[in-house]
């Protein structure tokens, strides 16, 4: 594995997202997957925040990279990304966060818009991510049809590839997309962008069922979950519950310490939720 000067190399186990999801399944519960962007409100606090996620019960961490044009995100994550970029966050800062998550014992996946990977070079990005304890990539604006380079790089490095399926996906697309995934499948439960919603919607369950009909991979549900009750609801039919905007909101308009405390409280509630399937 290539090592990069100044970057925290991780030499521990390389537990993947799939391993954790299997373990959760054996425990008879869903996994809690938490998202936070690196660099918000600043790099140091964001690294502590992903550590707090793991300490408070998140099983798999998605570390986002702030992007200038986040077209899949609602206003909470858009504003966090804008603030992080204004604060000078760099793409390479994500590797500090993944190493921190890994050191806490959870697999870190990086969630990123594709141009940031393309710009660094797909192979270089994959090598650096693997060297920094990363478990893989979630790619909201990259479909497998365009992912030849990434599929080759992830085969070479053993990183997970998480592509998204949506309620609008046809049966053919579901089969094709899931056959390209490794680790788990990300089911975007509602049509729309990220952001907390009052109701998760019946579409999520249907999408999970349709997805499970074509793959044996675990299916995690994202977009809209914001509290323990919703987490329990989604945990009844999904292998993992993904929470993003609601966690980001904990760090919004708060002093770092206060934000981290709020983050811990919400994470514990969500972790309890995924253990109380309804």
């Amino acid at each position: 594995m290539t090592s990069y000067a100044g970057e925290p190399a991780y030499a521990g186990t390389s537990l993947g997202a799939g391993d954790v999801l299997r373990r959760c399944r054996e425990e008879g519960r869903a996994a809690l997957v938490g998202y936070l962007p690196v660099g918000f409100p600043d790099v140091e606090t964001s690294v502590r925040a992903v550590e707090v996620l793991v300490e408070s019960g998140v099983d798999i961490v998605e570390v986002g990279i702030p992007y200038s044009d986040p077209l899949m995100d609602g206003s909470v994550i858009q504003n966090a990304a804008a603030r992080a970029l204004a604060g000078g966050v760099r793409v390479a800062d994500v590797f500090t966060a993944t190493a921190a998550v890994r050191a806490k014992g959870a697999p870190p996946l990086v969630m990123t818009y594709w141009n940031l990977v393309l710009r660094m070079g797909v192979d270089t990005f994959a090598d650096r991510l693997a060297a920094a304890g990363g478990a893989g990539l979630i790619t909201p604006d990259l479909v497998p049809d365009e992912a030849g380079d990434w599929i080759a790089a992830s085969e070479r490095t053993g990183l997970d590839r998480v592509f998204l399926v949506a309620p609008s996906s046809t049966e053919e697309r579901l089969a094709w997309v899931t056959s390209s995934c490794r680790g788990f499948v990300y089911a975007a439960s509602t049509m729309g962008v990220t952001g907390a919603r009052t109701a998760v919607g019946g579409g999520a369950k249907e999408l999970v069922e349709r997805t499970k009909a074509v793959t044996d991979l675990p299916v995690c549900v994202g977009l809209g979950v914001s509290n323990g009750q919703q987490a329990a609801e989604v945990a009844s039919f999904a292998d993992g519950v993904i929470v993003g905007s609601a966690l980001v909101a904990c760090l919004t308009d708060r002093e770092p310490e206060e934000g981290l405390a709020a983050l811990s409280t919400l994470t514990r509630e969500l972790a309890e939720g995924v253990r109380n399937r309804r």
């Binding site: 992007y67 200038s68 044009d69 986040p70 077209l71 899949m72 609602g74 206003s75 858009q78 804008a82 970029l85 760099r90 793409v91 594709w114 141009n115 940031l116 990977v117 393309l118 710009r119 660094m120 909201p140 604006d141 990259l142 479909v143 049809d145 365009e146 030849g148 592509f163 998204l164 399926v165 949506a166 309620p167 609008s168 996906s169 046809t170 697309r173 997309v177 975007a188 049509m191 729309g192 962008v193």
Partner: protein, 397 residues
């Protein structure tokens, strides 16, 4: 995968949620383009509503500033709504109906595409929402009023730089959410496949008409076809029919803003490297990390950090050449066309005119230049008046 690619450029870098809609659109437009009923209806609308064919005008007094070359303008400025935009908009609005959708959304920078979309929506009874950067709604207040008059809802976008690229982000977010009943009527030859190819095909009529008109008038093909390039729809429209004419140079003119060295420009080919923005892989103004860099131009319609992928292909393959004109050069050409020919061009088109001045000076009096006058300058009178200091203190607020 080669479908939807121009060499390495193009593709479909979008969320999975949009893929089915893109496939539906691809199928609908493929069927429509060979369906006499669709083509007949579009032809009828162009004849009775748009005002096609648009004329060509020879401009000898302006040509004196182009090295004495013979200069002919293709007059897309005379179309209904004042620019070439209506060609694409009417066709996509008809497609929207054929797909059984009832609502269109669009992005707009200067407001030309927004006005054209609102117009087509009014004509065909479609619900219409236009996304426009807040900065642009302020500098183009008249076009905002025009869109509202036509029955469209105009949504100012305050995120990011609050200009065209952010309006596109917001339109894409709307589309992901409402794709079932909504068509995203993209206004230029960019975005995910099939948009670049489809929008080019809907504008191809510009070059088809112009080629025949120039042959008819002069008995020969032009030495160069010149057009401004923002996203690049008017340029692809006039270039495409000439691609297989090896003696005809295709010359795109980008916005040089305050000059390349200033960093405040939209001359992608002069400075940028390929990357992905808004669903397509093309030349892109981006920083070392791949974050989009904001572009700058006096012309809102050219003020975009990326460019249609087919232009990137034509550029790298050498079939087309790309120059840039600074704000200053474009405003000089703007003023000259007004004063020598009595035609007020759009600021975008003024860049093509500035390109003609450079190319004509280079080629000399034997040359024949065809320039796409993509739009008229009514919308730009305020900006131009400010530039030339024609507004006095009291009236100029």
């Amino acid at each position: 995968m080669t479908e939807g690619r121009f060499g390495d450029f193009g593709g479909r870098y979008v969320p999975e949620a949009l893929i089915p809609a893109l496939e539906q659109l691809d199928e609908a437009r493929s069927k429509a383009m060979v369906d006499p009923a669709f083509l007949g209806e579009l032809e009828r609308l162009h004849r009775t509503y748009t005002g096609r064919p648009s004329i060509i005008t020879e401009v000898p007094r302006f040509a004196a500033y182009c090295g004495g070359a013979r200069v002919i303008l293709k007059r897309e400025d005379l179309n209904h709504t004042g620019s070439h935009k209506i060609n694409n908009v009417l066709a996509q609005a008809l497609l929207t109906q054929r797909m059984g959708k009832t609502r269109v959304i669009a992005e707009t920078g200067a407001g030309q595409h927004g006005v054209a979309t609102a117009t087509a929506a009014a004509l065909l009874g479609l619900e219409c929402r236009i996304y426009m950067g807040r900065v642009d709604t302020e500098r183009q207040a008249l076009n905002v009023a025009r869109m509202k008059m036509l029955g469209a809802e105009v949504v100012p976008v305050s995120h990011g730089s609050a200009t065209l690229k952010d309006a596109i982000n917001e339109a894409l977010r709307d589309w992901v959410t409402n794709v079932e009943n909504t068509h995203y009527l993209i206004g230029t030859v960019t975005g995910p496949h099939p948009f670049p190819e489809m929008v080019r095909d809907f504008h191809r009529i510009i070059g088809v008409e112009a080629r025949a008109q120039v042959l008819d008038l002069t008995g020969r093909l032009p030495d160069a076809v010149i057009a401004c390039v923002g996203g690049g729809s008017n340029a692809m429209g006039i270039f495409h029919r000439f691609i297989d004419d090896p003696g005809v140079r295709l010359i795109g003119v980008e916005a040089g803003g305050s000059g390349i060295e200033s960093g405040r420009h939209a001359a992608r080919f002069a400075s940028a490297e390929p990357g992905v923005l808004h669903g397509t892989f093309s030349y892109l103004m981006q920083d070392e990390d791949g974050q989009t860099i904001e572009s700058h131009s006096i012309s809102a319609g050219l003020d975009y950090p990326s460019v249609g992928p087919e232009h990137s292909f034509l550029r790298d393959s050498g079939r087309a050449e790309y120059l840039y004109a600074t704000d200053e050069q474009a405003m000089r050409a703007f003023e000259l066309l007004c004063k020598t020919e009595g035609i007020i061009p759009a600021l975008e088109s003024a860049h093509a005119l500035a390109g003609a001045m450079m190319v004509g000076t280079d080629l000399g009096p034997e040359a024949l230049l065809l320039v796409n006058l993509s739009g008229r300058g009514d919308k730009d009178v305020h900006t131009a008046a400010e530039w030339f200091g024609l507004l006095d203190e009291e009236a100029g607020s």
